[in-house]
Structure formats: C-alpha cells, structure tokens
Amino acid sequence: MAIPFSYSLRNLWTRRLTTVLTASGMALVVFVFAATLMLAEGLRKTLVETGSYDNVVIIRKSSNSEVQSGVDRAQASIIESQPEVARGSDGRLLLAKELVVLINIPKRESNKPANVVIRGIAPASLLLRPQVRLSEGRMPRPGSAEVIAGKSIARRFKGGGIGETLRFGMRDWTVVGIFDAGTTGFSSEIWGDVDQLMQAFRRPVYSSVSFKLQDVTAFDQFKQRVEGDPRLTVEAKRETRYYEDQSEAMAKFLRIMGITLTVIFSLGAVIGAMITMYAAVANRVVEIGTLRALGFQKMSILAAFVMESLLLGLLGGVVGLFGASFMQLITISTMNWQTFSELAFSFTLTLDILWKSLLFSVGMGFVGGVLPAFRAARMNIVEALRAS
C-alpha cells in the first residue's frame, strides 16, 4: 500500500521555511545551470544562423578567419569561373568577393573601444544572406563614402546610428542605413562598398570569396578540386561550418565553465537537500514508527520520503527556470578571441534546455533525498515509537 502523495506535499508545506530555503538553493543552481546552457545555445544559434548550409566561404589556407585571410584578384577570378557557383534569377553569379577588416571604435556607453568587423560587400552579398534586410535608411551608393551598420552596432557604438559618421582610412563615412540580421553575427558588422573600402584601407586583395552552391551536394567535389588546384592556396568551407569554427574556443570555454560551475554548485545544493531531508526524517521518527506499525511497508516509507525530496527539487527547478527565462532579455557582447572581433549574442531558452534543467533539478532532489529516505525506511519500529 502506498502512502498518499498528499502526505509528502503537506510535510513540505508544514516545514515552509526550510522548504523555501532548500528550494531556493536548488533554484539558484538550476538558474546557473540553465543560464549557462542558454548562453552556449545563444552563441550556437547566432553562429549557425549566421551561416547558410548552401553557401561556401573561401579563405586563404590556414588563415582560420576572414580577418587574417587574403585572396588576390587572380585567385578570386579562378574561383568565379567554377561551375558550382549558382546564378541568380537575373543570370548574375551569386558570388561576393569581400573585404573583412577590424576597426577600433568606442562604445556609446563606456567610451571603451572595441574591435568591430567592417565588411566590404559586393552586390551579391545581400542575395547570399537572406537573413539580412535593411530596416532603416537605404543602401550605400557605389563609389561613395557611405556605409550601413548592423542594428547591434547602431545601438552600442559611437557614430553607428543613422546619419552619424565614422572616421577611418582618412575619410569620414556616413551611416545611411541600418540593417537587421536577427540574432546572427552580421548584426555586429558594418557594411560598405568593397572597392571603396579597399581603397581606403589600401588593401589590394580580398579577404574572402563567398558564393551559393548551385547544387548543395556538390560541395565535397568542389572542395577537393579547389584545394588541390596548384594555382590556388585556399581552403573552402561551408558557411555554417566556417562560423562554427570561428567560435570554437569561445564555445569550448563556455561549455567547460558551465559544466564546472554546475558540478560545484550542485554539490552545494545536494548537500542542502540532504541536510533538509535528514532533518525531516529525524523530526518524524515517531511518525515513521507509527506508519510502520499501521502496516505500511518499508518501500512505501522510502517512496514517500524520496517523493518529498523530488518535489523539493522540482519546486527549485521550476523557480530557477522561471528566473532563467528572464535572462532571454539580456544580450552579451564580447570579443571573440579567435577573431578579435566584437560578437553579440543572447541567452536562448529552448525546450531541450527546459527539460534538461527540470531533470537536473529533480535529479538533485533524488540524490539529496535517497540516503535520508533509506534511513527512514530502515528504522526499527519499536525504537521509533519509543523515541520522544
């Protein structure tokens, strides 16, 4: 015969203060657990959405990122002539030869400078990235000192807003438009005409060549041929893969940090739950003896106490997740130390994180409650009844 569920529930209610304290300890741990997962997920989402699976990025071999890369005009035109490059509805190649450099501009709030990616774009650049759309103003006129800024830049950097000017390469550049690229990394970039920027920065070579594949499955054969071509010293990556590699170090750091913190913190919370449950058992010795005398099995006692602890964990989990869900309002912006450029991403809550966090909280409750529950179940009836 099982002890009714309400017994466990009411016992938690009776010891309200202890229940609240224990559950809040667990809630904080779940909060940290969920927040780190959300942060990693936010970073992943930003980078995955930045790239498209059917786009290819070509950079100089071993250069790791567009910023370090250089692809000269001759090499670029060889790539342009490859059969895998798709054409748009107007028959033009869906291929962009781009320049990517970092410029140092101060933030609006702190006046501290940060490295921002400035991308010299070609007409096809926008077609390659359908996630980018102009939300305000207009596109820069070719041949003029005009740029457009990602919405994250416009908001946070001096001179990034529409109508404002940025100074670099001995010229003043007017921001004529703001583009919205959702949560992607492009939101943290400034775009301008590639030829104008190459002139200003005195860079005779492109940084990268990006294009859309005519046939998504043709990537491997393209990669093999291009990387084997003696005239070229480049490597080709799918755009999704390229952006994933960009933040490998950051993602790894967040992952290790998150796991370590969660393990340490959950030790604390499990200890808290254990203290609470041991006390719950100690305070109710007579009660347990009575239940046993009434004919409840050891298993029922065990189950009732484990249930109480699981409920405690679940309570903490729900509260912690509730708090963590507000973290979605926060955007983290930091330097990606693989590329030295500014990267903004938000905490992102997914269904996967939701159930993982709840499972984690219930797991903490279980680990904390199982030993005390065994103590309760193993109690000698006569001695338990005699205890005062």
């Binding site: 910023v67 604390g268 200890i271 808290g272 006390a279 983290i332 912006s333 130390w337």
Partner: protein
C-alpha cells in the same frame, strides 16, 4: 570561555548535519576563491605590463600594420630611449588546441626593452646571432619538453606556410607575473621570407614598443608620436602598455562580469543552505533556549549562543575551504597549464574567502538568532513532550 565551549559543542552536536554544512561551505569557498583568481588572471597581463613602456599601433585597429620606416622617426622624438618592433605571428603549434603566444621581434632592442625576460648571456648571444633562432618561456618549454637546439615548427595563420625555428634560449620571468608561455623569434626572418613570398606585406610592422627615459614622459611622448603621423596613410595610436592590455580586457568584459556574478551566486547558494541548517537547529533547540531564559539568561545571551554557532560553522567551512583552495589551485596549475599563466592564490583572495564565510555565517544566523532571542519562555517550554 564557558560560552565558547557551549557554542562549539552545540555547533558539532549533529555531526552529520554540521559536517555536511561545513563541507558545503568549504566547496563554495573553494569555488569562490578559484573564480576570483580566474578573474584576477584576466588582469594578469595588465599587472605584468609596464606603465613606462609605450605601444604604438595602427589607429584603425591591430590588424593593420605600420611601415618600418616609422622606426627612425619615432626614435627622434625627445624622451624616447629605445624603440623595438614586432608582429603578432599567431602561428599554431600542432593544432589549435595547443595555443600559446608567438611574436616576431627585433631581438636586440626587444631584450633591452624587456629586462624581465631573463636569459643567460650565452643563450642571449646565441639567439641574437641565429636568424632562425627563437626563445621560449620556461613554462612553455616544460610543457612540451623542449631543449636548446630543438627544432620547433609553427603553421602560420596570418603569414602562410610552415615556419621552422631553432630553440636558442629558454627565459625565466623576473617576476611572478611575467609571461612564461610565449615564443619570440627574429622579425628579420619573417620579413626576409615575406620579401620572397609576399613582397607587398614586407617591411610592415605590427606594433612599435617604446621605452621612455622617465615614466613621467609617457603621456608627452605618446602624443608627440601620434602627432607625427597624423593625417598620414597610417595614423598611429600610442598608449602605455598597461592601457593597451586593459583595452583587451575591456573587450571581454562581459564574460568577466558573468564570472564575477557567478562567483557571488555560489556564496548566496551556500548562504541559503547554511541559513537552512541554522533555522532547523534553532527550531530544535527552542526548548533549551527557553530553559536558559527561565534560569535568568537574557535574550542577548541566547542571541550570542545562536549567532556564535552560526559563525563557528561558517568559519570552519571557510577555513577548510581556504586550506583546500591551495591544492586545488596547484592541481589547476599542473593540469590546465596551457590555459593559464600562473594560477596562484593571492593573499587578498584568502581575505575575501574568509570575508565571504563570515558573511555566510552572519546571514545564516540572523533569523534563528532573532527567533531564539525573542521566544517567549512559556511558549518555548510548551514545545517539549
């Protein structure tokens, strides 16, 4: 004395519960101490850098070089003692996971500018003489078991190709904070190679390092240098090495802030756990407190006993935590050597640890202390039996 005895015996009355609480607090204190140390490491580069050395780089950003010809013009600025120059090389040893700093430098002036890199005179000579030579820090050499004369190959990311260097010297840091996980080689070697493979990129310098005659001249000299190249093709930005390093730290500030917040969250978590322990303990002892009150003890006595117990438990956890922080830091230093320079616990971290433990004890004790001090005797006694 009597009360101290009573407090200590009370604190360890429930052996299991007290042990669990003390262990919990110790874990939190270790985590707090290690996280504080990690935050400190962020500023490690800043602290190790000098306020009298200046760094001149391209005003647009670090990725843009400066012409080599600037060297002589900088040298003519009054107050400049030594000028050295180099490039961030960004080479990769084996693969991306084996990261360490590597830079191309003009060896003679570089070693002059950085007296904290200590080499024996023979090794110093050997390094300066060998165009393909390099020097590495002691900790880096230990990590890979390198010996003098070994061949080290880096794969270039900024400068393509496989680059081979001959190890000519292993330097030690003069101070604890000196970076011992870096590799330096001849700038000339880089430049000569570039002249052949990528002439457009030759004779370009990533940054200049300037030593001024007196630290007070730093601001004046940096303004003078930037003024020379104002409105040229490559405008410069000159700042002290400290400010330069701080700029890097500022760019990753968000992560730094997150770690800091998290290190306080762990203290809050354990505060809640300890508060729970104390609340339970005080509840169980209400009758004892009431008995003491009947004997004529006042609220303050009871308060002292409860509060003292909370402090004893918290500080035991704190001391245990501090004691375990050292082996934990040692373990990190050995196991994760490639990520951190020197993972050493600073004295102020210990102080912070103990302060945190104290705060935990105080916070955990407040409610039970108040309860114990204000409980009505008749009510308290009625809880018995």
């Amino acid at each position: 004395m009597f009360f101290l005895k009573l407090i200590i015996r009370n604190a360890f009355r429930h052996k299991l519960r007290s042990t669990l609480t003390v262990v919990g607090i110790a874990i939190a204190i270790i985590a707090f101490g290690l996280l504080s140390t990690l935050v400190g490491l962020w500023y490690h580069g800043v602290e190790a850098s000098s306020a009298s050395r200046l760094v001149t780089r391209n005003a647009i950003s670090l990725v843009f070089p400066l012409p080599l010809s600037y060297k002589d013009r900088i040298r003519q600025v009054p107050g400049v003692k030594t000028v050295s120059y180099g490039n961030w090389f960004g080479g990769i040893y084996i693969d991306e996971k084996h990261f360490f700093a590597n830079e191309a430098m003009e060896p003679k002036s570089f070693l002059e500018l950085y007296p904290e890199f200590i080499l024996t005179p023979e090794q110093r000579e050997a390094f300066i003489r060998d165009r393909k030579g390099c020097i590495v820090g002691k900790r880096l050499a230990d990590t890979y078991g390198w010996k003098i004369g070994d061949l080290i190959t880096l794969r270039g990311t900024i400068f393509p190709g496989q680059w081979e260097f001959v190890l000519r010297g292993i330097y030690r840091g003069a101070e604890k904070g000196t970076e011992e996980r870096a590799l330096f080689f001849h700038w000339d070697y880089l430049n000569e190679t570039l002249k052949k493979t990528a002439p457009r990129r030759a004779d370009q310098v990533g940054f200049y390092m300037i030593d001024v005659e007196r630290p007070e001249l730093a601001a004046e000299v940096s303004q003078a240098v930037d003024a020379i190249f104002k409105n040229s093709l490559a405008e410069t930005l000159t700042e002290t090495e400290k400010a330069f390093q701080l700029g890097f730290v500022a760019m990753t500030e968000a992560i730094l802030v997150a770690i800091q917040i998290v290190s306080y969250v762990v203290i809050v978590i354990i505060m809640v756990v300890a508060a729970n322990t104390m609340a339970m303990t005080a509840r169980e002892r209400i009758a004892e407190y009431a008995t003491m009150k009947t004997l004529g003890f006042g609220g303050w006595h009871i308060a002292g006993i409860v509060f003292g117990e909370s402090l004893v438990i918290a500080l035991s956890g704190g001391l245990l935590g501090v004691a375990l922080t050292f082996p934990a830091a040692q373990w990190i230093q050995v196991e994760l050597a490639q990520f951190f320079p020197a993972f050493t616990i600073a004295p102020h971290t210990i102080a912070l640890d103990l302060l945190a433990a104290l705060v935990v004890g105080v916070a955990a004790g407040i409610f039970p202390t108040w309860r114990g001090a204000t409980i009505g005797i008749a009510e308290g006694l009625r809880r018995i039996g």
